[in-house]
Amino acid sequence: MELLANLGLGLETAFTLTNLLYCLVGVFLGTAIGVLPGLGPVATIAMLLPVTFGLPPVSSLIMLAGIYYGAQYGGSTTAILVNLPGESSSVVTALDGYQMARQGHAGKALATAAIGSFFAGTVATFLLALFAPPLAELALKFGPAEYFSLMVLGLVASVVLAHGSLLHALGMILIGLILGLVGTDVNSGMERYTFEMPQLADGIGFVVVAMGMFGLGEIIRNLEHEATRSVTIKAVSGLLPTKEDLKRIVAPILRGTGLGSLLGILPGGGAMLASFAAYSFEKKVSKNSAQFGKGAIEGVAAPEAANNAGAQTSFIPMLTLGIPSNPVMALMIGAMIIQGIQPGPSVMTEQPALFWGVIVSMWIGNVFLIVLNLPMIGLWVRMITVPYHLLYPAILVFCAIGVFSLNNSEFDVYLMALFGVLGYVFAKLDCEPAPMLLGFILGPMMEEYLRRAMLLSRGDPTVFVTRPISAVMLAMAVAALFVVLSPAIQKKREEAFQEEE
């Protein structure tokens, strides 16, 4: 059994004392920052990235993955307790979770979320171990033309599945792609769009962009609608669900896990889409659908299972193809590049210890999550009650020092301020920053693959449609665009994202 041998290698890597420790620290820090209202996983990871740069590659990825699902779970905690979802994927959790909390069942809702997440995480980790190797093998056969088409498909799919205006998502992707070109061109050695500033010769750091757009931009947006009332939370009690509760949540957790795992793999998918889809699906099939929105335990179990499953399986395209399916994965790819690892199918064959170590550590991280979170709920509650006017200056401090420490450069700090302002302006115009970050990460890779493909085909652009795999992917991208432009689907798409409002 090759799978067992691989998992054995992973266990060996992940079960060293240092890596266990980094996983634990990652989960803890991720949850601690993730529970803070108004901070989603992207901002959390961007803020904590600089902490991981000094670590060896395996440890840093293990810690980052821990931060990710920690932040995810922290966001759900906040959503349940105070109805302030820090990120879009816990928006639906807030619908029923907060109602449960108001009825005095906060503990039960939190436990349901933890159990659902843990189960989904376990299943999704196995799926990852099962499906990653064959996919990576397939990807090894890809030439530059296939890669280029795959990236086009990934970007288009991220637009189709994301919410908001299609046109603006395309615009933001293009802006991201263009910003990604700033710096020295690898082929000619020529500096592009650097305005003769030496600090830009190596390009714009993606942490700078992410912290600016998602950290600073978000703060400015929150200040605009600053609420004066302070958050109060009743003491959380009654953590353990009864036998009857458990019976009620089994089926929703199973359905959520299945749906979430599937949607997580899709480009543009991941946690947010998974939780939305699982909630609306559960509402349709559940016997208690009348209770949904009024504190149905199923309405917490399904989306929580789905978003954790989706979060986990979105690692599949990232680890095997080197393609980020959402902004969090874009950050992961950026972190890998900084660590000197070129993401793609070769990671599995060239660095099996890293690949399998990260996968196994995900499961360990899920164990930590459940062990850590329920007993420490008191601490998280206290973190949530920190008033925003004391919180955001602290976030700014960490962003500023973090960005400075990347290259010990003030320039990056100024650039972050600029992206913060940009992020706010775009938010005002209803232009989502997430597609921009995807484009930004993919820009340089896309150009490189386009160049290589055209060089190999001697300038014949039909290579993208005459090679079968590439043609299929482009056809899928075009089909996806047409589908989303058709009026009927557009209406459905609006409905699907309506729950958020």
């Binding site: 615009g171 020529m190 003030e410 706010y424 055209m454 300038g459």
Partner: protein
């Protein structure tokens, strides 16, 4: 114009698209076989111009909500506090730079109080001095040469 959000987004797209293409003209274009540094940016810039035009045109035909007031106080104070941190960090040192960053950014809140802002600044300075300077070794002085230290 019926949809100001589409209109201004279109203006931004068009502006950036045109700038991208214009700047790329200084670089060699190359051919489709051997693409020069200008090739890909020109394509992207052109596409962005197209998106911008569509957005502009659409803004005259479909109606949308108004953009709403621009939070000038928040934007300027947050951006200024971060820039000031960058300006002060090396010269004046971490302590004054963080103090300015915290107090200046906290001022953007409607719940700003001098006392709580100063306390927050003091706490964060101690924390950052310990974690970032002592523990992680970020090369910034606590008090810099500008203060005669």
């Amino acid at each position: 114009m019926k949809n100001p959000k589409d209109f201004w987004a279109g203006v931004i797209y068009l502006g950036m698209g045109v700038a991208t293409v214009a700047i790329a003209r200084e670089y060699p274009m190359g051919t489709a076989v051997k693409m020069g540094p200008a090739y890909f940016p020109t394509v992207l810039g052109g596409l962005l111009c197209l998106i911008g035009l569509v957005s502009l045109i659409r803004s005259f035909f479909t109606s949308g909500e108004a953009i709403g007031a621009f939070a000038l106080k928040g934007v300027s104070l947050i951006a200024a506090s971060v820039v000031l941190f960058g300006l002060l960090a090396r010269g004046a040192g971490l302590v004054p730079a963080l103090g300015v960053l915290v107090v200046c950014s906290a001022y953007a809140s409607i719940q700003f109080r001098w006392k709580s802002a100063m306390l927050l600044a003091a706490g964060l300075i101690v924390f950052c001095a310990l974690v970032f300077i002592k523990l992680l070794g970020v090369p910034l002085p606590l008090l810099g040469p500008w203060l005669g230290v």
